[in-house]
């Protein structure tokens, strides 16, 4: 008679679990057309804003006043501008976080629509792994969008013949700061989409609204240009500007990490205490 096989329960470590889950999520990211569409959008928008803002009107009408005189203003404002007066103050690399919000909603929404989560959560995968993996992968995607945004903005600026003078150190810190903020944003969007997983329309709308920074811009209109707004993701993202220094980067790292920890912890709690599917 054949003996019974010994039943062994293996417990993969967090590293092992994360490695396989990140592998799957990165594979999915690189194999979905949506990712490349958003990268392209992130490049086209700044190029269009910069190159079209100073164009002449039809039939020889007077040329509109250019939004920017300096090419790098499409990346970030000269100083942190929480109060927005015109589109020039608003249109900068922070727009990437709007595209990112929509992308994360579609990415996570697809997990639920396809039934993939059902397949995933019947393995040894933990809810925390899911939150972390989605946050990391989406943060990477948003950081890549920052890259294509930079390229698009530069191309537009060169075409428009804008001034290129900048403090390179501050510019690099601003770029790095915004890339770092991607982690906080991605975690927030992941949290929103996990909580509102049964309401795709609501989650994508909420992600869009938060990504535009409307609540913070509204608060700034009342409170004025106060650094207190830096505790919010949009505030810290605005803080990474062309006059950034190492303290700016520190603020971005701390705020982004705090939001990431809070959103991932809350998301894990929600997933653990509620029905998955």
């Amino acid at each position: 008679m054949q003996g019974k096989a010994l039943l062994r329960f293996e417990s993969p470590t967090l590293t092992q679990r994360m490695r396989s889950m990140l592998g799957v999520d990165f594979y999915r990211l690189f194999h979905t057309p949506m990712y490349y569409i958003f990268l392209t959008i992130a490049a086209i928008i700044p190029a269009m804003v910069v190159s079209m803002a100073g164009m002449g009107g039809p039939d020889g009408m007077a040329q509109a006043a250019p939004l920017y005189t300096n090419m790098w203003n499409i990346i970030a404002a000269d100083t942190p501008l929480y109060v927005v007066r015109d589109i020039g103050d608003y249109a900068n690399m922070n727009m990437v976080f709007i595209f990112g919000g929509i992308m994360v909603s579609i990415f996570i929404g697809h997990d639920y629509r396809s039934g993939y989560v059902k397949q995933l959560f019947t393995t040894h995968a933990k809810k925390l792994d899911y939150m972390l993996s989605k946050s990391i992968v989406c943060a990477f995607a948003m950081a890549c969008m920052c890259g294509t945004y930079l390229l698009g903005g530069m191309a537009g600026g060169i075409l428009a013949g804008l001034d290129m003078d900048v403090n390179v150190g501050s510019l690099l810190i601003a770029l790095l700061g915004k890339a770092v903020m991607s982690l906080g944003w991605a975690s927030l969007y992941t949290f929103i989409n996990v909580v509102l997983r049964r309401y795709f329309g609501v989650s994508i709308t909420l992600s869009f609204i938060l990504g535009t920074g409307i609540p913070i811009i509204g608060a700034a209109a009342i409170l004025g240009n106060t650094p207190a707004l830096n505790v919010f993701l949009y505030g810290a993202s605005v803080y990474a500007c062309l006059s950034s220094n190492i303290f700016t980067l520190l603020v971005c790292v701390v705020i982004s990490c705090l939001w990431a920890v809070a959103c991932n912890a809350l998301g894990t709690l929600v997933l653990s205490r509620s029905d998955v599917y």
Partner: protein
Amino acid sequence: MNAIEIRDLSKQFGSKQAVNNLNMTVPEGAIYGFIGENGSGKSTTEKMICGLLVPNDGSIRLFGKDYRDDTTRSKIGVLIEAPGCFPNLSVWNNMMIQAANLDIKNPEREIAKVLKTVRMEGAASNKFKNCSLGMKQRIGIAMALLGRPRLLVLDEPINGLDADGMRIMREVLTDVTQKHDCTVLISSHILGELEKIATHYGIIRGGRMIAQMTAKQLEDSCRTYIALRVKEKDKARRLLTSAYAQVKEDESDAIRVYDDAMPEEIVSLLYDNSVIVSEIKKAKVGLEEYYTDLMAEREERRA
């Protein structure tokens, strides 16, 4: 050790009590047929076992461990409703994703093996969305078999399968239980198919387990009857009804006598009244009829 042990399990969706103080025991190595009408709580119970739904009350133990223990999950293969695959990816890539989630060593070999088991090796390069319903079910079963599970939880896996698919399914389930010490929990409405493989049964109604038994116990508790075919059916039925308490006509137009009658007595009775019997056999009611009778009995009790 029992593969599944459920005690006083309850689940409520809003005001609807989907599962109500359910108790269930699935011994290791069993093929447990989980039967019940639509909305009786089968899928909800299975989803709770797999950790997809959070129970309101009660306990679920899998191989002696709490169902929330993540280590037990790697030993469970699941097919609930339909496989959770990405429609635009190929069958192979979907399988690779699940293999990665299960942290399977040498996934290519394992995937090729399970696809061969369900005779789907030729469809590996097809996009999942282009597969037929039957193919998708087979892929779902292949996915559930990944990682050599010790417990398979299958919700309506036979749905959409053709005759060949059903035969393969029977072979696979029998094989995994006999050769690989796997336990199977399977729910299905196709009771005829279930009857061919199940070693244990659980019947659920209104979220409560109303009967649990082994296949042997079911067989013992099933009534025997004598089925016969005659030319003069009306006359024969009149005669039999006057002599026996329970006489019915089945869907194949045969007359069934459920009392403990001997075939010889019935033939003599009919022969004496000039009714010629063309076919007669002694048989037992099947699972389907047992289930229908049980449901009718419950309905009567409620009324």
